[in-house]
């Protein structure tokens, strides 16, 4: 098979996976989902590392390092902030009766 068709096939299949996998999401989770997806495209960091690590041109090196900084902000920040949001969803264990909870933890 020709290389371009191979990549096209990857692309097409991934499109279906991407759509189907999130098609059941409830609107409650839209924000964390968007944020998590945002973190995933931070994988461009891998591309930035590969390009920067194989160049020997100083200008290219500098631009590459900038790209690495930006991409790591995207990737790391994205996953951390998503986790922070999701922690809140997890913390709530089913309580016997919500009304009898102690009010505590008001910041």
């Amino acid at each position: 098979m020709s290389v371009s068709v191979v990549w096209l096939t990857f692309f097409v299949l991934s499109v279906f996976v991407g759509i189907e996998v999130i098609s059941k999401v409830s609107s409650t989770l839209h924000t964390p989902l968007m944020s998590g997806a945002n973190a995933i495209h931070g994988i461009i960091l891998l591309g930035a590392v590969l390009v920067t690590g194989t160049t020997d041109n100083t200008f290219a090196l500098i631009v590459g390092l900038i790209a690495i900084v930006l991409a790591s902000v995207n990737m790391v920040g994205g996953f951390v902030v998503t986790d922070r949001m999701l922690q809140m969803f997890v913390r709530k264990k089913p309580k016997a009766d919500a009304a009898t909870q102690t009010p505590g933890d008001t910041k």
Binding site: F10, V15, V17, G18, V21, I22, V25, S26, S27, T28, L29, H30, T31, M34, G36, N38, A39, I40, H41, G42, I43, I44, L45, L46, G47, V49, L50, V51, T52, T54, A60, V63, G64, I66, A67, I68, V69, L70, A71, S72, V73, N74, M75, V76, G77, G78, F79, V80, V81, T82, D83, M85, L86, R91, K92, A98, A99, T100, P103, K107
Partner: protein, 463 residues
């Protein structure tokens, strides 16, 4: 870049991690683990190039510099992610998205500089795409950030020549892309990047008021696609799969969101260009309203059997969610049936309100989605609207031409009594007046929500 088989297999495994991450993120129980799986996949994928010989070079060059750059980026990202307030989440996502798009554009420029002369026409087209769309995403996200952070007006910005400049930049970008495919010169790439920045700015400027978060989601999908195209250029599966997943799911999510607001994406992006309708009022009206003190409202609440809370963006800004939770606890203890009615676009991003209330430890079962509770309003004795406005504005049903016209709203107007907690008569995000404020069965309790909420709480407790 031909990588050894084990590297390809690891990359495939990382791609699978991303799939599992998205899958996990779409269910409340699995969301956190999903995010962690995604992070694990990303970290492993990034670690791989340090352990093999990429592209003929005997080892990765500049390792210390690269690690330093990663460390700086990580520190910045973690700092931002930790410090941001939940109310500012949309800006943060926009910013992270923007830097990702910028990084993708830079990577494509570098690849053009290094290997462009070896490329076929198809990889060159993909390079052009990455440069342009990455820059659009970067510039657009920065403007979005500025709008949400109120560094600039959140109203649509339109000026006479805008459509012409926008169209011109667009055509110029297309022409230059064709040129780049024919002769891979770096300067064409750089000009393309600059054009992308212009397009990005012009794309987001006219998007007004209520619609900015949709644009974030759209730009997020754009960045995903640029990363996918970058993956094709670098022949890297994990970039391709990860980027495509985000591109596809992001596009779909954008449509879901626009749908929740009863708008089309095209209308959101280009509505303002056509002139007019997204430009709401914005000043406070001085028609008479009925206002009351916390004690009056406390009595009203004390005798109500069915209460529905409508939280909105203002609740979050005021950080009043904790006192609100306490108030609800007290009222439930006294036998009233209390629920929260969550509009899908309450707050500044879909699902945002759930995050905020979850932070205040409101039990999940009390959060009712719009479709679930909209039929209950007519039986409600009191509806307490805390820092919300647009999501209960009947103009969405009655006023064609209003920026929110067609958006499904919570039927607070059907309740016996409506109480608004807000600071003034100023309108909400969409910038239009809310008729419901002037209805005879509406009471206003003016003041910062945090302050009035604790007064209200004390008044209720005192009864």
């Amino acid at each position: 870049m031909i990588a050894p088989t084990w590297v390809q297999l690891v990359f495939l495994a990382c791609g699978v991690c991303f799939i599992l991450a998205l899958k996990g993120l779409s269910g409340p129980k699995t969301a956190r683990n999903g995010n962690l799986i995604g992070a694990a996949g990303a970290v492993i994928a990034v670690a791989v190039p340090f352990f093999y010989k990429p592209d003929g070079v005997d080892h990765l060059h500049h390792v210390p510099l690269i690690l330093a750059a990663i460390a700086i980026g990580t520190a910045g990202g973690v700092y931002g992610a930790r410090k941001v307030q939940m109310t500012q989440m949309p800006q943060m996502v926009a910013l992270f998205n923007g830097v990702g798009g910028g990084a993708a554009a830079l990577v494509a420029l570098l690849e053009l500089h290094e290997h462009g002369d070896l490329f076929d026409w198809f990889p060159l087209a993909a390079t052009a795409f990455t440069i342009v769309v990455g820059s659009v995403s970067f510039a657009g996200s920065v403007i979005t950030f500025a709008k949400l952070q109120e560094l600039m007006t959140s109203r649509p910005v339109v000026f006479p020549g805008l459509p012409v400049i926008f169209g011109g930049s667009f055509i110029a970008a297309a022409v230059l892309s064709v040129m780049l495919v024919n002769q891979p010169h770096l300067w064409i790439g750089v000009v393309l990047a600059l054009l992308g920045l212009v397009v990005g700015v012009l794309l987001v400027m006219p998007v007004g008021g209520a619609d900015v978060p949709i644009v974030i989601s759209l730009l997020n999908a754009f960045t995903g696609l640029t990363v996918a195209a970058g993956g094709y250029v670098l022949s890297n599966t994990v970039l391709l799969i990860g980027g495509t997943l985000v591109g596809a799911s992001g596009t779909f999510l954008t449509l879901l969101m626009a749908n929740a607001m009863g708008r089309s994406v095209a209308n959101i992006l280009f509505g303002a260009l056509k002139g007019g309708s997204t430009l709401g009022g914005g000043e406070a009206s001085d028609r008479p309203v009925k206002s009351a003190g916390p004690e009056d409202v406390a009595i009203m609440l004390n005798y109500a059997e069915r209460i529905i809370i409508v939280p909105g963006y203002g609740l979050a800004v005021a950080q009043a969610q904790h006192s609100l939770r306490e108030l609800v606890d007290v009222l439930s203890e006294r036998g009233a049936k209390v629920d929260y009615a969550i509009h899908p676009v309450a707050g500044r991003m879909p699902g945002h309100m759930n995050v905020l209330l979850a932070e205040a430890q409101v039990p999940y079962e009390q959060l009712k989605e719009m479709d679930e509770i909209n039929g209950d309003f007519k039986d409600a004795d009191v509806v307490l609207v805390v820092g919300a406005n647009d999501v209960v504005n009947p103009a969405a049903k009655t006023t064609p031409g209003a920026p929110i016209y067609g958006m499904p709203i919570l039927n607070a107007d059907e309740a016996k009594q409506v109480v608004f907690l807000k600071r003034s008569m100023r309108p909400g995000f969409a910038g239009i007046e809310n008729e419901l404020l002037f209805e005879p069965n509406t009471t206003l309790l003016f003041g910062d929500a945090k302050d009035t909420m604790s007064k209200l709480l004390n008044a209720v407790k005192a009864l």
